[in-house]
């Protein structure tokens, strides 16, 4: 280490720009902070010896210097900003309708732009490797830049002495000289204390300082950001983070995914309420909307815990844990899990009852049978001796290219191909039935099936979440806020006074808001015969 001994006797570490103790500019290092080009001293880090400005030999030095640069940091922020904006030009993949092919969707909906957007992977921009890399680089930059500056600055501010070198005084932005033998130093000190300055004195040299802690604000908020980023990273660890989705029909009990089979939930009822159209307050708005406006989505549920060993195929023994309702903004919480009301399906078919009658006579009845739509039997025997076999079942029927298909396994629009075996017959009559549709394919049927009754129920969609990263992320956010407020709402101000043969010199420094500093100096020199110092910085724009 090439330590630098200042004329005041203080030993400074290599790379120091201004003596830690007296502030004297160390001649050979003035280029570091650009002081050689300017009249005034660069006081940003009080001329402390920063690693990034001192060493630049090894590859580690170079990496360190790259990430500790504010310029690089700003570039990283700007690049991330632009990338984020690009990510909002078209909807991200998670916001396009489910069950569609992304490649076709982007092409069909947005033409060439959509195709390019998809090809470049912008439809998943925020989880792309390069976006992650940008965030990671910001993270690294935050850590390195903070370490590079905090420790030297902390040491320098701790070691500073009230007695300053003349050059330091003269080259401060706010500086003034007073030639007078009437200077009232006692009053000056009293004024300073009244303005909540801490006053240090050394042989008549005065240093008044306030709000040094504001200087640590940036480092505190950077720590908060780092904790936040680490919290976000932990989401990739399954132990910390569970995110599942489950559909449960009314009246059904289902295992809650993501809980290792430990928890079950029964959907007692799903409730969808809409606003009353005759409500005076909202009449106009509801009319304009042209349809009902939803008021509540709610699932009344019972949560069960499995008490027996998990054996495949064995019916679980369940113990009730709690009865609760999941509503928008009010998830059900149990153990470490939360269930969120996320989606719903209204009026899914539960069961349908059919009867067999003569083709020509609707009133005849050869018996009825009920099909459970989530679990249809393949064959139904009627007392009249008729036998009905389900040849095909389409839970959500649609015609595609002239063929009947089911677009999902959910009975939203059920359709059947039935084979009806009249008593004693071995060759069946075929009927094709759906909602509002009853087709006799051959036209030679004697019997016809008719829908007598049906039952519907609602299905609720819930997200299952377990998230141990939330406290970490919350802590990061809180620390960030404390740091930002600490750094932004207080200003670190220092005023130096130096006795001279005939009068005094005064200098002032603040890390920001110079107007406010000058106003404060006006206050503390009031009645002391100290001349108002001048701001030596001129705006040249």
């Amino acid at each position: 280490m090439n330590e630098i001994t200042c004329e005041c006797g203080h030993i400074n570490p290599e790379g120091t720009v201004l003596c830690e103790s007296c502030g004297k500019p160390i001649e050979k290092n003035q280029h570091i902070d650009g002081n050689d080009q300017k009249e005034l001293l660069n006081m940003r880090y009080d001329g402390s010896a920063r690693r990034s400005q001192t060493y630049n030999r090894t590859i580690i030095d170079k990496i360190w210097n790259f990430f500790s640069s504010v310029k690089v940091g700003v570039w990283l922020i700007v690049l991330t900003l632009i990338a984020s904006a690009v990510g909002t030009i078209l909807p991200q993949e998670m916001y396009i309708p489910p069950n569609v092919d992304a490649a076709t969707h982007y092409r069909d909906q947005y033409g060439l732009l959509g195709q390019i957007y998809y090809q470049l992977g912008f439809h998943n921009l925020f989880s792309s490797w390069w976006y992650m890399l940008l965030l990671a680089m910001i993270g690294i930059s935050i850590v390195i830049a903070s370490i590079d500056r905090f420790f030297p600055l902390y040491k320098t501010l701790k070691k500073q002495k009230p007695k300053r070198h003349e050059l330091f005084m003269k080259k401060q932005r706010v500086f003034g000289t007073t030639e007078s033998d009437q200077v009232d130093v006692e009053r000056f000190k009293k004024n300073l204390k009244k303005n909540r300055f801490k006053v240090y004195e050394e042989n008549g040299h005065i240093l008044a300082e306030k709000n040094r802690f504001a200087r640590w604000g940036p480092y505190v908020n950077h720590i908060g950001l780092i904790i936040f980023l680490i919290g976000s990273l932990l989401r990739f660890v399954p132990f910390f983070y569970v995110d599942e989705f489950v559909w449960i029909r009314e009246g059904e009990t289902a295992m809650i995914p993501g809980t290792d089979g430990q928890y079950y939930m029964k959907n007692e009822e799903f409730i969808l309420e809409t606003y009353d159209e005759s409500d005076e307050r909202f009449k106009e708005a509801i009319q304009k909307q042209g349809g009902p406006i939803p008021k509540t989505y709610q699932t009344d549920a019972v949560i069960y815990e499995r008490t027996d060993e998990f054996i495949p195929g064995k019916e679980p023994e369940l113990k009730e844990v709690k009865t609760a309702s999941a509503k928008m903004n009010h998830p059900i919480k149990f153990d470490d899990y939360a269930l969120y009301q996320a989606s719903y399906q209204l009026n899914e078919f539960k069961e349908m009852t059919f009867k067999i009658h003569d083709k020509e006579n609707e009133d005849s009845n050869y018996g009825e049978f009920t099909v459970d739509l989530t679990n249809p039997k393949s064959e139904y025997e009627l007392e009249s001796g008729h036998r009905v076999v389900i040849d095909s079942y389409f839970p959500e029927y649609e015609m595609k290219d002239g063929e009947p298909v089911s677009v999902s396994k959910y009975p939203k629009n059920p359709a059947f191909v039935f084979h009806v075996y009249p008593p004693g017959e071995t060759s069946p009559e075929t009927s094709f039935l759906g909602i509002g549709m009853n087709i006799d394919a051959t036209g030679e049927n004697d019997y016809k099936l008719g829908l007598v009754n049906f039952d519907v129920r609602d299905v609720t969609g819930l997200t299952v979440k377990k998230d141990f990263t939330l406290p970490i992320i919350g802590l990061g956010g809180a620390i960030f806020m404390i740091g930002v407020i600490q750094g932004m709402y207080w200003n670190h101000r220092r005023i130096w006074l130096q006795p001279k043969e005939n009068g005094v010199w005064i200098a002032g420094h603040t890390n920001k808001n110079w107007f406010a500093l000058r106003r404060e100096i006006d206050k503390v020199i009031d009645g002391t015969h100290i001349q108002k110092p001048v701001d030596q910085y001129e705006m040249k724009d």
Binding site: I77, Y95, E284, I293, P331, Y340, T463, M481, K512
Partner: protein
Amino acid sequence: MGDLSTLSSNLLYAAFFIYLIATFFFGGTIRDKGKGKSRVAGNIGITITIIGFLTQLGYFITRWIASQHAPVSNLFEYTTFFGMMLIFAFIILYFIYRVDLLGLFALPIALLIIAFASMFPTEISPLVPSLQSHWLYIHVTTASLGQGILSVSFVAGLVFLIRQVDQTKRSKHTSWLEFVIYVLFATIAFIMVTSIFGAMEYEAKFQAPVNGQQAEITYGVPAIAGPADGEVISEGAMGPLFEAPAWMRGQDAAKKLNTFLWSLFGGLVIYGLVRLILRKRVAAAIQPLLKKLNPELVDEVSYRAVAIGFPVFTLGAIIFASIWAQQAWDRFWGWDPKEVWALITFFFYAAYLHLRLSRGWHGLRSAWLAVGGFGIIMFNLIAVNLVISGLHSYA
């Protein structure tokens, strides 16, 4: 209930005119300074501004009581509130720095924002389930206050630019400054066009395919750009000069484009007339009025507004937003366009604060950044709601 909401809208009208009067008093401070230290006009100006603010607060409270939820749930309510927060932020910074002329610019911009807000549907609407939470007012009011304070930074930046940009010769600075002024004029044009045709009860109905189905689209202003493949069905209505391109999607895309074009043309007309009368750049004409202002002080006001506004914005628009999103949508962050643009705003001002550390980024550059930041805020308010849209388009 009906009476309360009438009272509420009357209070908003009143606040609007009170701000207008206050603007004139701040205008009076231009002469005030010449006569020495008199602060009469400025003091009256700020007093009236505070009265106006309280009146608008009255609007806010009565509307809250009438609707039984915080009136920040649609574009009209939110934007009005944003205007109010801009005034509030101006009052705060006024008492720190006492720059009278800031009021001469801050108030008209707030007026413009409030008038702009009134162009959107103003009736009280019920809250959809996801909005039924205390976080509605906690998140939205804090975010809006943050944006309001950041907007004062723009106002100060604009004042700085008008004061400082060299008007003796044409440059990039003068052109961009005129462009900013033109955008303000276009906003005035939007308000004028919408209100004039609204008062005339102008209506032109079109039949046009929307997402493969025929739909009826009602224009409130004459159609320059009609819907793609649309047909006029109202009698006597002006046919469109051209059709909106087919790739513009959604029921009202063509209608929005049409209003946008009207605003652009209207803005050009106003700007042209003003230039014709002034016979010089608009900024050049205002510049002499600001000669007494200390540019460094204005620069500091602009920076201070960011320093105060940035933490408030982060708290409201990022942190409170995340907490609420976690409750309502089971994830604290979902890359919804509104969220992303809040993050972009955050990044932008973070970059601004870091740049202020370096030499050479004070003054002009800093002022331009303040203008850009405001552009981002307005983009998030208007374009993201009306054009990009996502989970947050409640308007």
